[in-house]
Symmetry: C2
Subunit: 211 residues, 2 copies
DNA sequence: TAGATTGTTAATCGATTAACAATC
DNA sequence: TAGATTGTTAATCGATTAACAATC
């Protein structure tokens, strides 16, 4: 039985965490909901409601204790748990993801890389070795890796997703511009950059044209 | 006076477009709202409502004409307009974005790259040259580029955003894990990968724990 | 014609915002 | 104490879903 957290709140909490960490680094002791509100352009009441979901209490007149709020957010976001994942596809985007250094802070750990290109097998990216995809099922099962990052070309996305699911994947973070079919118990998050860009473009345009 | 399109609808339309293009390539003539619905796991009525926003009419019993729907979507999404942009930051992620080939389809064109690293200035990435950031204001103004893609380290994000805004940027697609401050008339879309991952993680967890 | 699918109106649901009492 | 800020209840708003009439 989990308390139900609204998805919009879920999306805001990591943003709060990032601000709280800034305050923490600056050695501040308290933060007010109005400060978070201003920085993120989110309603003040909303911020308090979201924080209330964490069962973290603030002090009237002073705000929320940084250490405490940080701890509650870390607990909720499961920050200190290592989240192991495998990445399939070592093209430009795949390599950029593998080298991205913003993930550690949240405990995301990309343990191994996979590709089908024989020239790439055995190469190392930082500490991470590139394996042939044929090794995927065995490794995924042995290491109990449930999270897959897919950064392969559109045409291969479904095939690789099938392999991942068969090997026990429970969540696929899909960077390929493709809709992949998976069983209902597997979570797919599509990170389609082109679509994201279109939303930017349409919002920009709507702005200019409105009234 | 623009008709107001709900943001959630806005986000779904590019997905419909991608499916419609598949059908188009396969030479199909019609698509039913129920087919789109199933592929994207979106309510059928929702799909019809979204399409209605485009003023595109379907035929009872057969569905929507692919050519027509495709044309309406392209018009709405402004697909055939070239959308010029500049990219600041040519690290791993910046280069991956510069080389990403999924953008053309939507008319996004990255015209030039910028960095501060003297070793990179003058290099070419495909057809695109890397310029020193000091050239940015002049080029942005001459070419009337309004869209900036920011792929710089966290610490430089605000500084680069300031430069971009001063040079007339109206939209910033921010890949840096930083909250940047801009005037109210500038649109910022934050593409924080780590945050996106956390949402995946939390959803995955909620699933496992629920009931 | 009969039946499937669209298009639209009405009902529901849930998230956001406003109002305000509680509290340090 | 007075005043600022939290915490919570109620009101609003908007998006989703359900129901069903229109139509090919």
């Amino acid at each position: 039985m989990t308390k139900k957290i609204p998805l919009p709140s879920l999306k805001r909490l990591p943003k709060y965490y990032s601000i709280v960490c800034e305050y923490y680094k600056e050695g501040k002791e308290y933060i007010k909901s109005s400060e978070i509100s201003k920085k993120l352009d989110i309603d003040e009441t909303q911020v308090r409601k979201d924080i209330a979901l964490l069962n973290c209490a603030g002090k009237p007149k002073v705000g929320f204790n940084i250490n405490e709020l940080k701890r509650y957010l870390e607990e909720f976001l499961d920050i200190n748990n290592m989240k192991d994942s495998f990445l399939i596809g070592t093209g430009n985007l795949g390599l950029a993801i593998a080298k991205y250094n913003g993930f550690e802070k949240y405990g995301l750990n990309i343990t191994a890389l996979f590709d089908t290109d024989p020239h790439k097998i055995g190469l190392k990216v930082g500490e991470k070795e590139i394996f042939h995809v044929s090794k995927f099922p065995d490794l995924a099962q042995r290491m109990r890796v449930k999270i897959i990052i897919l950064a392969v070309p559109r045409e291969e996305a479904q095939k690789m997703a099938d392999i991942a699911v068969k090997a026990g994947a429970k969540a696929i973070w899909n960077f390929a511009p493709a809709n992949i079919d998976v069983p209902k118990d597997v979570l797919v998050i599509n990170q389609d950059l082109a679509t994201d860009f279109m939303v930017l473009w349409l919002q920009l345009h709507n702005k200019d044209l409105s009234i």
